[in-house]
């Protein structure tokens, strides 16, 4: 009983037919749309490597059925930069060495996007709390926190 899913991903419209109901959003993005920047790191909705913005909310795309994306607006890591201009979060992760192997990074950045929407001037504790759903095995999180605080400063500066 496959379905058709029409969704807007990173500003582009997609029309995908024959979507099996059990297809997970993360595999829809990766295998059907070729957006492989969104990763899978666990089976149990813990690691957050698959985080995307789904109708304005950061969610774990491994725990959303792709059929629910019908009519949705989705942003993945591939859609975060504005053309060639990196988002301050992307710059921040780069500037502050907020990544090592890079596998958790896209999910981490998507979560941080939401964090900064909700808390434009966060303290360290807030950053750590809001990133609790994203696991990183390389960095010990220290430079990720630095990266987000750096980006927050940039964004506040830009809007001031």
């Amino acid at each position: 009983m496959a379905r058709t899913v029409q969704a807007t991903v990173n500003g582009r419209k997609y029309h995908e037919e024959n979507v099996e109901p059990r297809l997970l959003l993360v595999h829809f993005l990766r295998d059907r749309l070729g957006l492989t920047g969104t990763h899978v790191g666990c089976d149990s909705t813990n690691c957050g490597a698959c985080t995307v913005m789904f109708n304005g909310k950061a969610v774990k795309s491994c725990t959303v059925l792709a059929v629910r994306a019908d009519g949705a607006a989705i942003t993945t890591i591939e859609g975060v930069a504005d053309e060639e201009q990196l988002h301050p979060l992307q710059e921040g992760f780069w500037e502050k060495h907020g990544l090592q192997c890079g596998y958790c990074t896209p999910g981490m950045i998507m979560s941080a996007l939401q964090l900064l929407e909700r808390h434009p001037d966060p303290d360290e504790e807030t950053v750590r709390l809001e990133l609790e759903g994203n696991l990183c095995r390389c960095t010990g999180y220290q430079n990720i926190v630095e990266a987000v605080l750096w980006a927050a400063g940039r964004l506040r500066g830009a809007s001031a």
Binding site: P21, L24, S44, T45, V67, R68, Q114
Partner: protein, 296 residues
């Protein structure tokens, strides 16, 4: 991992959802936010033949308050609850619970109705709903009924709902000016299920006394466990540190908690006492400082 194949329906109305549940009976599973059900399906611990997804049903995610009751739509997300002024001001224990369910990403999709109906023995809401004397509204083929929270939870992953019933709303009485509440959770990491969680609702009386007390624990039984003996102790005299300690000790008696890889039963018993004491103290402090704006 990948769920086994299933038949999928996402009806636009509750009536149609109920009809689908009637049609498919035990084969069907209801999906709200999917944050508990989908992981279990992916691990193939649960493999329903039919999934009835409620995401298209409108108006199930509102929070409304009048003078006597707060009505919360079953599809209200944890994030909506934790960030709601109404909830924070009126039902602080519920806001406490909402902000410690899972992680921020899960809270964006997971719902209070879904969590309640999932009825994990170590979930955060069940204890809070019992402590706050909530009622759950359910719709089924025979119409709507209201179930007191204390009667709702039957066993781990089991509620008193019929397979054809859907929780639509949770209603919680607006506390009076002298009432206060808190929920405190102990877990290994911030994102984990409760080893022990304690929800408490207190009514402040004259002379530093507590006129009424509800103390409900999660994680220590198959359902939320009400610490009635502790409640009696709390009501018996001024709420001083010694009384809090006694209440904590009382809460530990007759507990028969499970052991698992995160903590053994004895640990759960020990920290139950501590967390009852701390949760009551936290609620009491709230009522004293008055910052929670109780009853406003």
């Amino acid at each position: 991992m990948i769920p086994r194949a299933f038949e999928y329906f996402d009806p636009p109305t509750l009536e149609e959802a109920v009809a689908l549940l009637e049609q498919h009976g035990e084969d069907a599973k209801l999906m709200a936010g999917g944050q508990s059900l989908l992981p279990m399906m992916k691990l193939r611990m649960v493999s329903p033949a039919v999934v009835v997804d409620l995401w298209r049903v409108p108006d199930l995610d509102t929070i409304r308050r009048d003078d006597v009751v707060v009505r919360i739509g079953a599809m209200t997300t944890h994030y909506a609850l934790q960030s709601s002024e109404v909830i924070r001001n009126t039902l602080p224990a519920l806001a406490d619970a909402a902000r410690v369910v899972g992680d921020p990403l899960v809270r964006n999709l997971g719902t209070i109705g879904g969590s309640a109906a999932h009825a994990a023995h170590n979930a955060d809401y069940p204890a809070v709903l019992v402590a706050l004397d909530a009622e759950l509204q359910a719709v089924g083929p025979a119409g709507t009924r209201s179930i007191v929270a204390e009667d709702f939870f039957i066993d781990t992953f089991t509620t008193c709902l019929e397979p054809t019933e859907i929780v639509t709303e949770i209603s919680i009485p607006v506390p009076g000016d002298t009432e206060c509440s808190a929920y405190l959770k102990l877990s290994r990491r911030g994102t984990d299920f409760a080893i022990v969680g304690v929800a408490t609702a207190l009514t402040e009386g004259e002379g530093g006394r507590c006129d009424d007390a509800r103390v409900v624990l999660t994680g220590v039984g198959d359902t939320p466990v009400r610490a009635t003996e502790a409640e009696e102790i709390l009501k018996a005299g001024p709420l001083d540190p010694e009384r809090l300690r006694e209440a904590g000790e009382a809460a530990k008696r007759n507990l028969d908690p499970p052991s698992d890889v995160q903590a053994d039963a004895q640990y759960r018993v020990d920290v139950s006492g501590v967390y009852v004491r701390r949760a009551v103290a936290a609620a009491w402090e709230r009522s004293q400082s008055d910052v929670s704006g109780l009853g406003n």
